[in-house]
């Protein structure tokens, strides 16, 4: 029986660009190039490795995002995923994590799945909570923040390196897994992969396909409200000295002045 893997990937503004907020306090997506969240590449990579080990597996990549989010799906397809689903709807603009997770949960259920894989966090919202929320909504075990993952005989196992301990986890499928950037470098798409990706199917769904009302998502339907966003004032230029043999002592002087010594 085929193992159906759904990988959730997010399209995000490039972290090395000048990211900022638009007038409605949502992320300004026009001024900065977007890309597949780098941390989701690790999720795609683990899906590919799990699929390689399985007799028969199919990987669907799923995103909720604007028109350009197709680029993120293409990247994942060129890495080796089989097909893609793009949930796009004008009413989604400004959706918070509760709305996003609702849309993802409905889309995952409609697509059909045995295993859902996500990144550890997006590189823009960086909340790192969507995977747990998704598991709660889907009613499946959460096997999250894994630095190692394996799927065998309907069971997922993995290692979670926490603050105070490292844990070995186990759950039965269907389950939701999130992987960290310690899980292993993501592969680069090959030329062949890039060419093949052009022919792979990308399905487009909107809110009505998922039987979600417009007021359940978007800025209006948000369960949180951003009241203000202000750029942090640039740090005032500090003192910079060149080490001419006394750099360590000079620095100690500064630390003493600041009462750290």
């Amino acid at each position: 029986m085929s193992l159906r893997i759904v990988v959730c990937v997010k399209y995000v503004p490039d972290a090395t660009g000048d990211r900022h907020f638009a007038d409605d306090l949502t992320v300004d997506r026009d001024d900065v190039d977007g890309l597949l969240s780098e941390l989701d590449e690790y999720a795609v990579e683990q899906a590919l490795q799990i699929a390689d080990e399985a007799d028969d597996a199919e990987i669907t990549v799923l995103t909720v995002g604007p028109e350009d989010a197709k680029d993120a799906l293409r990247k994942a397809l060129s890495m080796g995923a089989d097909k893609a689903i793009h949930v796009e709807d004008d009413d989604l603009h400004g959706t918070d994590v509760m709305g996003t997770s609702l849309v993802l949960a409905k889309a995952i259920e409609k697509a059909g799945y045995d295993l859902v894989i996500t990144g550890m966090a997006s590189t823009d919202g960086t909340m790192a909570v969507l995977p747990a929320i998704l598991a709660e909504r889907l009613g499946v075990p959460q096997v999250t923040l894994l630095s190692e993952v394996k799927v065998e005989d309907g069971t997922v196992t993995g290692r979670r390196d926490g603050d105070t301990a490292s844990e070995q986890l186990e759950a039965s499928l269907p389950a939701l897994v999130s992987v960290t950037d310690q899980s292993g470098e993501a592969r680069y798409p090959s030329f062949k992969g890039i060419m093949a990706a052009k022919k792979k199917p990308v399905e487009a769904w909107d809110l009505s396909d998922l039987e979600i009302e417009a007021d359940e998502v978007g800025l209006e339907g948000s369960w949180t409200t951003v009241d203000s966003a202000a750029q942090r004032p640039a740090r005032t230029a500090g003192t910079i000295v060149k080490d001419e043999g006394e750099g360590g002592k000079q620095l100690a002087g500064f630390l003493a002045e600041q009462k750290f010594i």
């Binding site: 909340m127 909570v129 999250t144 603050d163 301990a165 060149k242 620095l251």
Partner: protein, 320 residues
């Protein structure tokens, strides 16, 4: 007065500092009721009472250690049902965020994560967040349900404010999902004797410039002279020079100490995301063009192998 539920992060009864900070913030919006789970839960009561908890709800059961996250959500939900609080505050650890998130969906509430400050507002608590690698400061509210907010370490001073701290046993019924993810084994992290990275007042970090695991003792010696925690960049961690648990940055720990000293670290955006809110920033780097120098209060352009040992020696001399 309105009650505020505070989730307690503790290790065998020893309450971690971020929870005491949460109690300070909770008192700005109501009366803190603490929820402590697992082994040693009742032992937390004295210190929680000293910091303002009017009540401490405790529960212990094997489920809390044998299964991941969900049993604690069941317990927090039981506390929520028992108290009907005006807000739920949880420390922003990886597990804390997951617990808060699942509770929020269950009770039909919005969630705000990684708040760095919290104040009472006309329409409920207002949280300050640092966005886009801390280059923006936002103020947000939960506009639906009972606000569930996770708060980063070092976001508020720890203040004593003695309260009753009456201990009450919390009755918890575990749901069907509680036993979904089994913890097969657990290997505790060995203590280095140094302060906890996210809680430390001073953090001394090394990067690729440290050039080898065998050189990290230079960074450790400086840290020890200041009673500091040791951090590392991802480049140093990926090279296997220092454990991942010490990584500072977007995918490592986020720190906000009084003093951050970066040696041989360039200051890539993902590293900055984890340390940009430090009060005082110092860097030692041989490249005067390194982006880390844009952040510093004091920078030394020089070879860390000369500067760091001299600094350590001078600190020890000054301390006498």
């Amino acid at each position: 007065m309105a009650e505020v539920l505070v989730y307690v992060d503790h290790v065998d009864g020893a309450v971690r500092k971020p929870t005491l900070e949460l109690l300070t913030l909770a008192r700005r919006i109501g009366e803190p009721v603490a929820v402590a789970l697992g082994a040693g839960a009742a032992d937390t009561a004295a210190v929680l009472a000293e910091h303002g908890a009017v009540k401490v709800l405790t529960a212990d059961a094997p489920e809390f250690t044998e299964y991941l996250v969900v049993p604690k959500v069941d317990a927090l939900q039981a506390a929520y049902d028992a108290v009907s609080p005006v807000a739920v505050l949880v420390p922003s650890s990886a597990e804390g965020k997951e617990i808060a998130a699942r509770l929020a969906v269950r009770i039909g509430s919005g969630i705000i994560t990684d708040a760095v400050d919290l104040e009472a507002g006309d329409e409920g608590p207002v949280a300050t967040q640092a966005a886009f690698a801390a280059s923006f400061t936002t103020k947000s509210r939960v506009s639906k349900g009972t606000p569930v907010i996770t708060v980063k370490p070092n976001s508020a001073p720890v203040e004593a404010a003695p309260a009753a701290g009456a201990v009450e046993a919390l009755a918890v019924t575990f749901g069907a999902l509680a036993t979904g993810t089994k913890v097969v084994s657990r290997t505790p992290r060995e203590s280095t004797g140094r302060p906890e990275l996210t809680e430390a007042a001073i953090v001394v970090s090394g990067g690729r410039g440290v050039n080898g695991a065998e050189n990290f003792h230079i960074i450790e010696a400086l840290a020890d002279s200041l009673g500091a925690a040791v951090g590392a960049s991802r480049a140093a961690v990926d090279a296997g020079w220092y454990p991942h648990s010490n990584q500072v940055g977007q995918t490592g720990k986020s720190v906000s100490p009084q003093l951050y000293i970066a040696s041989g670290i360039s200051g890539a955006i993902q590293h900055r995301a984890g340390m940009q809110t430090s009060k005082t920033i110092v860097a030692i780097n041989k490249d005067s063009e390194a982006p880390i120098f844009d952040l510093v209060d004091y920078g030394v352009v020089g070879d860390l192998f000369a500067v760091v040992p001299q600094l350590t020696e001078e600190i020890q001399a000054r301390k006498g």
